[in-house]
């Protein structure tokens, strides 16, 4: 497909990342398309987070990452939003959710208070994410699910072309995960960015991703979700013993358990 069919595409070609003489990622080819959800799956140490960092330009790499944008959709470098997995914070760090927004939304130093504009923006975007009540909560005391929503709301403020989510539902209970995914697809419909999400959770992947990239230091396979997640590709990624493990039918919650029993 070409860039004009989708309003933009991120093309990754022959991407290789070396660290201390070891190839962490070798020869990765992949496309991220506007309006699509791409899931990045693979075992621990497969280089998933490294791939995100390469797209963000935060680790050195060889190969090409090219952003193609149709002319009518503006020009220039893509805006890339990033939602990290967790924040390494002390629970008593004196920063509220409002302060957190103020840090990037206003020039005025946060010790002089949040500007009226910051307050409005923050309130609106928290409301959209369904967590308006967290405005003045201390950042270090949010639950995993609450934090994901706050980070997500903050990443959306920049109207990103590409949004990278690192393990968005880890440490979130099943109900919270459902809510988060519903919210995700709602925003996704409205704003049409390309979404790349790292996930261990195959039920999330099969339900929400259009395409899948299977990674294990190299590209195992990629393509439409239904075609790619086959027993043989899972075996190539996680080893021959891997199987899609289903918990009780009631929650219909699938997890991939690799050789380490995770």
């Amino acid at each position: 497909m070409t860039a004009s069919e989708h309003s933009h595409t991120l093309e990754i070609r022959n991407l290789t990342v070396r660290k201390g003489g070891v190839e962490i990622l070798s020869g990765i080819d992949a496309d991220l398309r506007c309006g699509e959800v791409t899931a990045l799956v693979g075992p621990n140490g497969a280089g998933k987070t490294t791939l995100l960092l390469a797209i963000l330009g935060q680790v050195p790499y060889t190969g090409k990452i090219r952003f193609c944008r149709a002319v009518e959709h503006g020009e220039g470098a893509p805006r890339i939003g990033y939602v990290p997995q967790r924040l390494p914070l002390d629970p008593d760090v004196p920063i509220t959710v409002l302060d957190f927004f103020a840090l990037s939304a206003q020039r005025r130093p946060v010790f002089l208070g949040a500007s009226r504009r910051t307050r409005e923006i923050t309130r609106e975007s928290l409301e959209r994410a369904g967590v308006a009540h967290l405005l003045l909560s201390p950042l270090g005391r949010l639950s995993g699910g609450e934090l994901q929503r706050v980070l997500f709301a903050l990443a959306l403020l920049d109207a990103p072309d590409i949004l990278l989510l690192d393990e968005p539902v880890s440490g979130v209970d099943v109900a919270g995960e459902e809510q988060f995914c519903d919210f995700l697809s709602k925003v996704q419909r409205d704003s049409r960015f390309s979404l790349l999400l790292v996930s261990h959770d195959l039920s999330v992947v099969t339900r929400h991703a259009d395409r899948v990239i299977c990674l294990n230091r190299r590209l195992v396979c990629s393509g439409a979700t239904t075609e790619v997640l086959t027993p043989s590709s899972l075996a190539a990624m996680y080893g021959a013993d891997a199987h899609l493990f289903r918990h009780s039918q009631a929650d219909g919650h699938g997890h991939l358990h690799d050789n380490e029993g995770r």
Partner: protein, 285 residues
């Protein structure tokens, strides 16, 4: 420069008509503490968030070597201390960003190397030990006019620096990768912060000494954590605790006849104890 200071001293005579504030050396000490302690406390809030208490301690101890180098080279130790502290701060930050080692390991290596170098120099140069005493324990009563003006300049520098970069420093402390996507230029901000911390640490050594200088950065910020509800109150409580304990400490040391720097740190510790009790008495949210 003389006239500015004499004007300030005249003003202090009117504001503080007490016996302890009469001697000029007490006025100098008071000024030195009210300039360095709040600046250190303001930097202390992001410093604690970045878990850099050990870093500031290493810079404090590098002053030991800075002073020794100054005496060895025949340059004023007050200035070699500042220069050497700045060099060590930048070196630690650069090395930390380029290795897989944890930051406390990197700091530990620098810390001991630098102190060992200082001891090696001192052991060769007999008669240096007396010179070092003032730096080890701090002697705000002996602060010179030039040092006072440097502290005043530094105070303004810290105000300007934090006004411009406070948001970016805090964001960087929350998550580096995320901060970068929000336009924070990570290494530049980190190095500038390390440098400003080094300047303030070496200035604050005149007030409380090498052994206690970290206290001026860490204790007020820790006390602020006990009571602050957000980023704004954290900074102001920290600065308030520093100013209060600077003033209370110097007055108490006059009447109790104790070492000024140590008394100031004890006053700050008392503030920490009060805020900790307040926190314990309050129901957790």
């Amino acid at each position: 420069m003389e006239t500015i200071l004499s004007g300030v001293f005249a003003l202090m005579d009117r504001l503080l008509p007490f016996a302890f504030a009469e001697p000029a050396f007490m006025k100098r000490a008071l000024l030195a503490l009210l300039l360095t302690a709040p600046a250190a406390a303001a930097l202390g809030v992001p410093l604690v968030q970045h878990r850099m208490a050990f870093f500031s301690d290493a810079i404090g101890h590098s002053a030991f070597t800075g002073v020794a180098l100054g005496v060895l080279l025949g340059i004023s130790p007050s200035w070699t201390m500042v220069a050497f502290g700045a060099v060590v701060a930048v070196a630690i930050t650069l090395v930390k960003g380029r290795t897989e080692l944890s930051s406390d390991t990197v700091i530990g290596v620098f810390f001991s190397t630098v102190v060992a170098l200082g001891i090696a120099i001192i052991s060769r140069e007999k008669g240096l030990t007396r010179n070092l005493q003032a730096f080890l324990y701090g002697d705000p009563l002996a602060v010179t006019d030039a040092e006072l003006l440097w502290m005043a300049g530094l105070f303004l520098l810290v105000c300007a620096y934090l006004s411009l970069l406070y948001n970016r420093i805090l964001l960087l402390g929350i998550h580096e990768g995320f901060a970068r996507t929000k336009g924070v230029r990570a290494p530049a901000v980190e190095i500038s912060f390390a440098l400003v911390v080094a300047l303030v640490v070496t200035a604050a050594i005149h007030a409380v000494g090498i052994l206690l200088v970290t206290a001026l950065l860490v204790i007020p910020a820790a006390a602020a954590r006990n009571v602050a509800r957000g980023a704004a109150s954290a900074l102001w409580v920290s600065v308030g605790v520093a100013a209060l304990s600077g003033f209370a400490g110097i007055v108490a040391s006059w009447y109790l006849d104790t070492a000024t720097g140590a008394t100031v740190v004890l006053a700050a510790a008392a503030c920490f104890a009060v805020t900790a009790l307040y926190r314990a008495s309050r129901p957790r949210e």
